[in-house]
Amino acid sequence: MLKLKQVDKSFRDRGDVIHVARDLSWYLGSGESAALMGESGAGKTTLMNIIAGLDTVDSGEVLVDDVRIDRLNQAELTAFRRNHIGLIFQKFHLVPSLSAWDNAALQARLAGAFDIDFAHHLFDMLGIDHLAHRRPSQLSGGQQQRIAIARALMHQPQLVLADEPTGNLDEATSNTVIELLVSAALNAGATLVVVTHSASIASHLSHSFRLGSGSLTSVI
């Protein structure tokens, strides 16, 4: 479950103030999935960073599964992220020195939640079984992103955040990856937020929201 209450967030740039969020509230139930859309510079990434505990709010409340993460200190935030949040990035960000398997298992191992059966299940489901021993430099973009998805899900987090996960992939690959992401996340019982510019990707998710001028509007 994800809840934002009256969140304010702005950047000051010389004289101008850029409002990314103004009195913004949002609710997303457990197991739900949402697309977050909006123009470039609207503040999507900033909002995701706030939810992930990587950035702070000016005011308001951020709750993930009833935990006020805006009140956690840095060490608590790190632990919270490790145990309850999965992140997926546009540029995959795999650790180049580790095999695909070790990359996927990394966060689960850090969280002490590594379950080898679940790991095999995930690899099976994402169709990356045969890639387990390879290193990131030996994988295509789509393959790398599937490893990253496995990494974000393996510790069975409550919340999965993906910022333009298919931005570096071609359209056909994008669709497969998104389908896999959505089904794997639902299967793991996680709440999923995907930032995207693509309506076709948004159509895979149960809700769509648009961020603009600091507020969210639901798109049907």
Partner: protein
């Protein structure tokens, strides 16, 4: 300069404004490299200048030297006879090296000012105006030559001895020098000058060290031989040559250390330049796309390099001034103690050195620039490689092959090398072999570590990260390896030196007391309950193969020379030596004769004796640490027959345990003055103290090169962190604690450091072996056992770990903030 170049230059230089630390590293590398090199060069130059002046005494040439054929000193009466015979340009000199009351070393030089041929005209025979204008004119003259006399102490000597004007320096034997006057004359160096008359009365003697003369004509030489040839010996003493030769090894050594620092400095520069160019690759590509031609980019970078080189060389030579001033006294001490060379302890600056530094800075920069520049201006730089980067590449294997080939080459060339320069070339082969082998060893160790720790994901990860960090740390670690090999090599060398010296002192000065009064008879000692043994040595000096050879008469049962002191001989050699033979005289020779004159066991040398030219058969050799002369040991009975007129020098007295006080009392009861005996225990302690101070210079240089390597590590860590920042941010985004973060981050560096130390150890030992068995033999003609002591190496390694730790901690302190900032950009990057 075109506008395009200017725009390009401005754009590329903007990088340093945003990354001032990188600019600092380029500068630090250049300044440290140039500075260390220049200061060493400066030290060498000043020492060499001193050698050139070594032929002179107070500005007067002393190229020719007259010594007594039999005695080590020349009687004043002989000097007077010479002058009466018309040799008016001959002047007497007393040179002494003594210990002061508190153990400091003092060099004294004394001469008769009236006899000094100033500007070629003797005072006695000239009009005297040259003398009036000399530093000795006027009052100075009378104060110097009349009681209470004066001792002229150069200011740097006064500082070293903590002497102030008017103070009387006390010598160890209890004598006092005249009141000190702080002033120095030309070519006085680190010597205290007193008048000859004062010296004769202080030392209670009527003999001088030698007579000196400016260049003599052929006729004069012949006349001298005719009239005085039977008693006195005339020799051409170009000390300049001798000293330069003798000290070549130390200077080459210093130069090598200086070059080493420069190489390490170049590593830093390379790192910094490489990083700055890499970081600007994007900018450079954009500039090229915008129409800046390749030449303009290269020109911009060339201008940038010029600015760097000039700044680096300037600041480097500036840094060299305090550095060499700080190191110079240690070098002067080395020269004086080991080689007996008197060197001014103030460094000389010359502009040639600045140009040299500039040239070096350029060479370093060009070396550092070539590779990154080729990469930066290449069309495609992001080559996609599917290669597994955690395994050694073909390039690494090739480099390792080169390393092995270098080791093999060292082995093959070892017997061939026969000059100091070739010896040092061997040393550098070892150094570069180490550098070439390092990458493969590190990568193999990390691969092995991964295999062994397969079960444990965190260990596996930490080992895998070695191969990611190593490319960044590679150069710095190579620099560290170079310094460590050199450090271990030099440390073992100095350690072996010290042990050899200790042993030598123990045998040579094994007697508890040395009684200087030669006239005391053996009967005086018999029956004294404190005495264990009393023996004396007698010495005759001749010349052999262009060098002085001392023939030493030794009692066959003297405790300070026995079968254990012979290094190479047949088992019965000592017995045969002590018994002697009718036909031929049997001797033991010092190693110097073997290595420098090619004498082998069984060879026969012909030497002048008082019974005419005689053959001497060499039965074996003995170590003779630090002796610059050849030496032969002959049983004293035989010596007395061959050199009957040589006066015995004094007694070595061995005392029963705990009888030292009784012995001193006994000696004075025999009518000896306290000044007539020396406690050799004190001399041993003093010699070791002097040795340790002397080698402070290598210690200081070792520490400095280590410091430079530490800076290299620090700067490459910073660069590595910057390169990998988004990856580190990822670790944190996955919820890794700071503790785990720094563990994985730090592990590779310490593993690589451990590998570097492991590689440095054997190579360092090989290096010290080469230094002792090659360089030492080539330059001095003596060897010593190679001692690899664990303690200094363990200490060195502890220091290295601490230094690396400090670099790591320093580089990591700002990591938290930087990674936190990078976290927010993970999505965008």
């Amino acid at each position: 300069m075109t506008r395009v170049t200017l725009v390009t230059l401005a754009t590329t230089l903007a990088f340093y404004r945003q990354n001032p630390l990188q600019a600092l590293f380029v500068l630090v590398g250049l300044v440290l490299g140039c500075g260390l090199y220049t200061s060493v060069a400066q030290i060498n130059a000043s020492a060499e200048a001193s050698y050139a002046e070594a032929d002179q005494i107070l500005g007067v040439s002393a190229q020719w030297r007259i010594t007594d054929r039999v005695s080590t000193e020349v009687a004043v009466s002989d000097y007077i006879r010479l002058r009466r015979a018309g040799f008016t340009r001959v002047y007497p000199v007393i040179e002494k090296r003594l210990a002061s009351e508190d153990g400091a070393l003092i060099s004294i030089i004394a001469t008769d000012l009236l006899a000094l041929p100033f500007i070629g005209v003797g005072v006695g025979s000239g009009d005297g105006s040259a003398f009036e204008n000399s530093p000795f004119g006027g009052d100075s003259w009378s104060r110097l030559t009349q009681p209470p006399y004066e001792a002229w102490v150069p200011s740097q000597t006064a500082a070293r001895l903590a002497v102030t004007g008017g103070q009387q320096i006390r010598l160890r034997e209890g004598k006092r020098l005249p009141p000190a006057v702080i002033r120095s004359q030309a070519q006085q160096r680190d010597q205290i000058f007193i008048d000859l008359g004062a010296a004769l009365s202080i030392f209670e003697t009527d003999r001088v060290s030698y007579l000196a003369a400016p260049p003599l004509t052929e006729t004069e030489q012949r006349r001298f031989a005719d009239q005085f040839g039977d008693r006195l010996m005339l020799s051409n003493q170009s000390k300049a040559l001798n000293l330069a030769q003798l000290t070549q090894s130390l200077h080459t050594n210093l130069t090598a250390l200086g070059l080493l620092s420069f190489v390490v400095g170049t590593f830093i520069v390379f790192n910094a330049v490489n990083f700055s160019l890499h970081a600007r690759q994007q900018t450079l590509r954009v500039l090229r796309d915008l129409g800046a031609v390749r030449q303009a980019i290269v020109a911009a970078i060339a201008i940038e390099s010029l600015v760097w080189a000039v700044t680096g060389a300037l600041l480097g030579t500036l840094l060299a001034q305090p550095l060499s001033a700080a190191l110079m006294p240690a070098v002067a001490a080395t020269m004086q103690n080991i080689y007996g060379a008197s060197v001014s302890s103030l460094p000389v600056f010359n502009t040639g050195l600045f140009w040299e530094a500039l040239l070096l800075a350029f060479t370093g920069l060009i070396l550092a620039l070539v590779l990154p520049l080729l990469r930066a201006t290449a069309i495609s730089s992001d080559e996609f490689s599917a290669r597994d980067k955690t395994l050694p590449s073909r390039h690494d294997f090739a480099l390792a092959g080169v390393g092995l080939a270098l080791l093999l080459l060292t082995y093959v060339c070892y017997p061939i090398a026969s000059s100091v320069v070739q010896g040092f070339a061997l040393l550098s082969l070892i150094l570069f072999a180490g550098v070439a082998l390092l990458p493969i060893i590190v990568l193999l160790v990390s691969a092995l570590g991964r295999t062994v720790t397969r079960q444990y994901w965190l260990a596996r990860w930490a080992f895998a990260d070695v191969s990611l960090q190593f490319p960044h740390l590679r150069l710095a670690m190579m620099a560290l390896l170079l310094t460590l090999i050199a450090n271990i090599g030099v440390t073992s060398l100095v350690g072996s030196f010290r042990l050899a010296l200790t042993e030598w002192l123990e045998t040579r000065l094994s007697a508890d007391f040395y009684v200087t009064a030669g006239g005391v008879e053996i009967e005086s000692f018999t029956g004294q309950d404190w005495i264990r043994a009393a023996h004396r040595r007698t010495i005759a000096e001749r010349s052999y193969a262009g060098r002085t050879i001392t023939v030493v008469g030794i009692d066959v049962d003297a405790p300070d020379f026995g079968p254990d002191n012979i290094i190479d001989s047949t088992p019965d050699a000592f017995a045969r030596w002590s018994v002697g033979d009718v036909g031929v005289d049997r001797v033991f020779a010092n190693e110097q004769l073997r290595y420098l004159a090619g004498v082998e066991i069984g060879d026969t040398l012909e030497l002048e004796t008082e019974l005419g030219l005689r053959p001497f058969e060499v039965l074996g050799f003995f170590h003779d640490y630090g002796n610059v002369n050849f030496s032969l040991h002959l049983p004293s009975e035989r010596f007395e027959q061959l050199y009957a007129s040589v006066e015995p020098q004094g007694w070595g007295i061995w005392v029963h345990q705990n009888k030292h006080a009784a012995a001193e009392l006994g000696l004075s009861q025999l009518g000896l003055q306290p000044t007539q005996w020396v406690s050799q225990r004190d001399v041993r302690t003093l010699s070791l103290a002097i040795f340790d101070r002397t080698f402070a210079i290598t210690g200081a240089l070792n520490a400095l090169t280590l410091l430079v390597a530490a800076v290299a590590i620090f700067s490459s860590l910073l660069a590595a962190y910057q390169f990998r920042r988004s990856e580190y941010a990822l670790w944190r985004s996955l919820g890794m604690s700071w503790f785990g973060f720094f563990t994985v981050l730090g592990f590779p560096m310490f593993l690589i450091t451990a590998v570097v130390m492991a590689v440095a150890l054997p190579l360092g030992i090989v290096l010290s072996w080469l230094l002792i068995h090659k360089i030492n033999v080539i330059s001095f003609g003596w060897t010593m056992p190679v001692i690899v002591a664990a303690e200094p190496i363990v200490f060195l390694f502890v220091v290295v770990v601490l230094v690396v730790l400090a670099a790591f901690v320093l580089a990591s302190t700002r990591q938290q903030a930087a990674v936190n900032k990078a976290l927010k950009n993970l999505a965008g990057e």
